[in-house]
Symmetry: C2
């Protein structure tokens, strides 16, 4: 008598784009025993070679068209700027009943660019796993990346509920919790929790690098005083982030506007010496940290428990 | 035959203010076997009680005046805004030859406010250990806080070099590396690597908290996408940070000006869709991260090696 293994959510999976997210999805599928075959394709020969060596794909193909042949689930895991072109090139090769998902950080533009290429009888269900690290490339992936993290599902009109539910089950087996959201709200939420934090981290690091009166050497030596946290975020993949800002223009500009407004208010408080306002502001923000810890979304170890 | 223990750098140490830094200094002294007696004082009865319970001081006094009696090294470890007042109150009780240091994050203002109270024959040597965590209070301290971190020493005029060297040896036994700097340059460097990063982290968290179109619940759930790093920094002690901005006005306003300038340039690139500029900017900042890792000032574990 053997224990029943849950049926595979999707038998054959094709990963288009072989970076941190695709690699982690493959490892998480393997951890769970899901999928009978995982095929992968990346535009760069280097990434394909690395993936062959790492072994998280059963087959690494030399074209996206070949990778999606007979696939039940196709994952668009490229930078969002090229997803439309990828969708156009694979469209004729998708089998009826297949599910196409993307894992991009922006949803409205991706839907606009991908959906028109999706053939009748194939379901496109946009996704956004809210997980990642500052590392990129096929070797950056690991099985537990999605554990206890949220994956936002942004279904387009007329997608059968059963297909969305099946996809939710898939993500849940990868370790993630899921929530459905509409594209506009998704793009706004992500501008707040991800896109603008990345932009200001990049900016802060750029300022430090550019300031001739403080040497790079000083910036590096004394970075433990706060700055180094920004450099981690600002070490993320430049192509991915370029595409995020080009495709989520509206929401990022809105949040950026709010950010500079608040920053100017604090700047004014510094200039006028308004200690009460500064103290009140710095106190209020502590509560959010507490809630994040209570929600299990971060560690309370000092300094994130960095190796000391 | 027993191994020679190095002579104590200072026999009796008085800690005024019992928070993360004072607690860590006491624990690090104990780890090293330095000091024959550590006395402590904090304004709040709660901190004194907690310190008695934690046991990192030999004696917890009920006044700063009592704590500094006969001390060889007096550490001002209060928020920088009250250091002048503390110096005034302890001045008449300092013994000739004693060394007074502060551990504040700002140097020019602290020197202006403390130095006038220091009696003839006592040496005031401003210090700034560039280490800390988001936690505060007597129970936040730990012995290894200063290991492999820099402590900036900002000697005032006419301090005998031997006294500065002795203090450097003390910090080195606490685990830190030291570097001498002048007060103006110190305040500028710290504005870049610490003060402005903290201010913009506080601002980002404030914006997220304040945005009615995105719920606090969403901000918390999806924080792993970048935002949570900012909340750690924005959970630091509000009083300490208020005082930093009130006393390092000039340098923080200068760096803030540079920061908004760069941010506006990136905002414009987003608005006009200038992908090349964004990509170039996001690529440049990766190099600084690499240097910080090479200098041993951070871990290269993904996500700081947070417990997964």
């Amino acid at each position: 008598m053997t224990e029943a293994t849950p049926a595979p959510a999707y038998r054959k999976i094709a990963l288009i784009g072989l970076g941190l997210i695709a690699g982690s999805m493959a490892w998480a599928c393997r951890r769970d025993g899901m999928a009978t075959e995982i095929r992968g394709y990346a535009r760069s020969e280097k990434s394909r070679e690395m993936t062959r060596r790492l072994g998280f794909c059963d087959v690494v193909c030399d074209s996206a068209e070949e990778a999606v042949q007979d696939a039940d689930l196709i994952v668009l895991a490229t930078p969002v700027g090229v997803m439309g072109a990828v969708a156009a090139s694979i469209a004729p090769h998708l089998k009826p009943g297949a599910v196409v998902i993307d894992v991009g950080s922006v949803k409205r533009t991706v839907i606009e660019e991908v959906q028109p290429h999706i053939p009748e009888g194939v379901h496109f269900i946009p996704c956004h796993p809210m997980a990642g690290t500052e590392h990129s490339g096929p070797d950056a992936g690991f099985a537990s990346l999605f554990d206890n993290r949220w994956c936002l599902i942004v279904p387009v009109d007329h997608t059968p509920d059963a297909e969305v539910a099946r996809l939710e089950q898939f993500w849940s087996r990868l370790g993630a919790m899921t929530e459905r959201m509409d594209p506009e709200h998704h793009d706004l939420v992500c501008a707040v929790v991800s896109h603008i934090p990345h932009l200001i981290a990049y900016t802060m690091v750029g300022v430090a690098d550019d300031l001739s009166r403080v040497s790079d050497q000083e910036v590096i030596k004394f970075s433990a005083a706060g700055f180094r946290d920004f450099t981690r975020i600002a070490a993320s993949d430049p192509t991915m982030w370029r595409d995020v800002f080009l495709t989520n223009k509206e929401a990022t500009l809105e949040i950026l506007g709010r950010f500079t407004e608040e920053l100017f208010a604090l700047q004014r408080a510094i200039r006028t010496g308004d200690g009460e306002q500064l103290h009140a502001y710095f106190t209020r923000t502590r509560a959010i940290r507490r809630s994040i810890l209570e929600a299990g979304q971060d560690t309370n170890e000092p300094d994130f428990g960095r190796t000391r």
